[in-house]
Symmetry: C2
Subunit: 401 residues, 2 copies
Amino acid sequence: MKFGGTSLGDVTKIKAAAVRIKREVSKGNKVVSVVSAMAGSTNKLIKLVNEISQTHERSEYDVVISTGEQVSAGLLSIALKTIGVKSRSWTGWQLPITTDELHSKASINEIKTEKLKKSIENGEVAILTGFQGITKENKITTLGRGGSDTSAVAIAAALKADRCDIYTDVNGVYTSDPRIVKNSVKLNNITYEEMLELSSQGAKVLQTRSVVLAMNYNVKLQVLSSFDNLPGTMIIKEENDMEKTKISGIAYSSNEAKITIFNVPDNPGQAAKIFGALADEAINVDMIVQSSTLNGSATDITFTILESDIISAREVIENLKPDINFSSFSEDSKVTKVSVVGNGMRTKPGIAKMMFETLANNNINIQVISTSEIKISVLISSDYSELAVRTLHDVFGLDKV
Amino acid sequence: MKFGGTSLGDVTKIKAAAVRIKREVSKGNKVVSVVSAMAGSTNKLIKLVNEISQTHERSEYDVVISTGEQVSAGLLSIALKTIGVKSRSWTGWQLPITTDELHSKASINEIKTEKLKKSIENGEVAILTGFQGITKENKITTLGRGGSDTSAVAIAAALKADRCDIYTDVNGVYTSDPRIVKNSVKLNNITYEEMLELSSQGAKVLQTRSVVLAMNYNVKLQVLSSFDNLPGTMIIKEENDMEKTKISGIAYSSNEAKITIFNVPDNPGQAAKIFGALADEAINVDMIVQSSTLNGSATDITFTILESDIISAREVIENLKPDINFSSFSEDSKVTKVSVVGNGMRTKPGIAKMMFETLANNNINIQVISTSEIKISVLISSDYSELAVRTLHDVFGLDKV
């Protein structure tokens, strides 16, 4: 049972989480709980760090930031004991959970489960601090924002848990963002692959990494609300009867920026230079299109990056100018990526046609297209993002899932 | 260099502490810094714990409470790096500092200094989280309020440091409380024994345990302000020329309560029963007087305890009534203990006479007296506490120290 920050946002909510755990224990289940920091506390800590220095060392950032989960873990354990449930809190170093050395965005290497198993055998609910681990040299690391989802799935995999329930402030995965599409429907089931595309295309229910991990280790994942008692969305392996569903959701992401580099001389290796230089600065490039060669000598290259990377990207491109000899480049942050995601795409053709036609009928210009086996994404002007999401939701009949 | 909570109360103060450390490093000193939690943060955490449950388990309390120092340590380390000083933060478990199992008031058993020494050899300033350690079973412990002083002295002892500087919000140890006695004087030197009596008699500059530790390991201790650049008070071993000073300070404590049990039958073992029962409830008894036997058959027993223990003490005494068969008992919280402390008392007689005469001349009634080799304490009505402290300060010429 993983509780996110909003599910532990104050003392009353922490007590409610304890009651929820007690209910599972009463059913005869053995429970391990993974906790995030109380809502707002991580942001307060980050603010303190940034006030001290904008160019802080990431390892000390992790020392400061990792304390939030320790507070929640201790408090939840106290809340459990108060209602008669045996429990014990565990920090990343106490198990330990070892990670690589990439401070503030570390990956889990190994989870030692001996102590955890003993704690469970003793009839205790083990409360684990999410989001963190230690390096081989005993330095504290954190897994990046939302990393507690990944901690929870990793623990579930290591313990071969029957299920990994992610308690959050929404009661499942929806066919689209209910704030935009009023008739969005909660999905009862979704495959890992679909969830992965939805997460990476902008749906913020689960951290993308946690879904990959769940898929790789076949962890049965459930997303559900900590504020009601309804079943949530089960994220599971593809099964035969799932092919019925063509499309499971429409995702969108507005944190995108589009860059076009004009008149790039058409020599081999130019693209590698550009994207290599961006990768060196850890700038993630998402969609890429290259225009047909103009007059056999030059081409335009368009790609999208995160809006927050635009300043560093600008610098990288300007530095490349003497070498690559392009004519100019343009930036556009007023773009949104809209994605149609569905396992059904594999077996039912025509989804792309239907999507493009729908957008055209609404006079929405498609700037860039990218596809995967179970997803089609288009980049459009932000002016049309709500219209696009709403219309696509209707056209694919997602209100009747 | 130990920095208390007020010395790290906000980002500006943390940066100022870093500058102070840099100054010592520039002089060629090797610095280990021990930090408290930022002022107010420990109280906030305690409030959270108490809101969850008044009867929380102490081990989880420690998990929550110990995070405050980790935040300060990380922030101070970042602040140092920002001004070009190599540094690294260390938590209690990273060294480790091992303690006994007495959660929330643990005692340090051992400090492993290998990693710390290596860090210092690498030219780093090591920043340690004060106030905490771990048990042999890797559970987090804390040392009780003000425990960071004890951490600092213990680290200084373990490293055989030349000096242990305790940075705080006052610029040294005064002959009395400057808020009451306007002409209080800062002492340049004071012996461990005197400091110990002053601390345990109510002066709040240093945690009593830290002074005992410094005395036992002969750690040269300095109390000084983190808000100016003046020398503080050195706490050192007694030396010959110190005998010049008769008295070094007047301390007072208003957190006292007086209890009198009337007509206790004069059989052997009655006092042991009373004080044994109080000790069983962890109630500390300070001053004790027993009246001369009345008519050879019964006696009155008066003693003082901390005001905060009065409810539990009342219960203990009521439970003893059937067994001991006393007539009644009274409580009085409107009492103050005033102490005259000075190494000179050992060699100069007449201090007690001077103290009692001064109080009598001011019509202040002495309720209980207790003495040690270098201290005389009297219990008086709280109405006269300021008058008593001020007059004694004058009579013993402490404004001219």
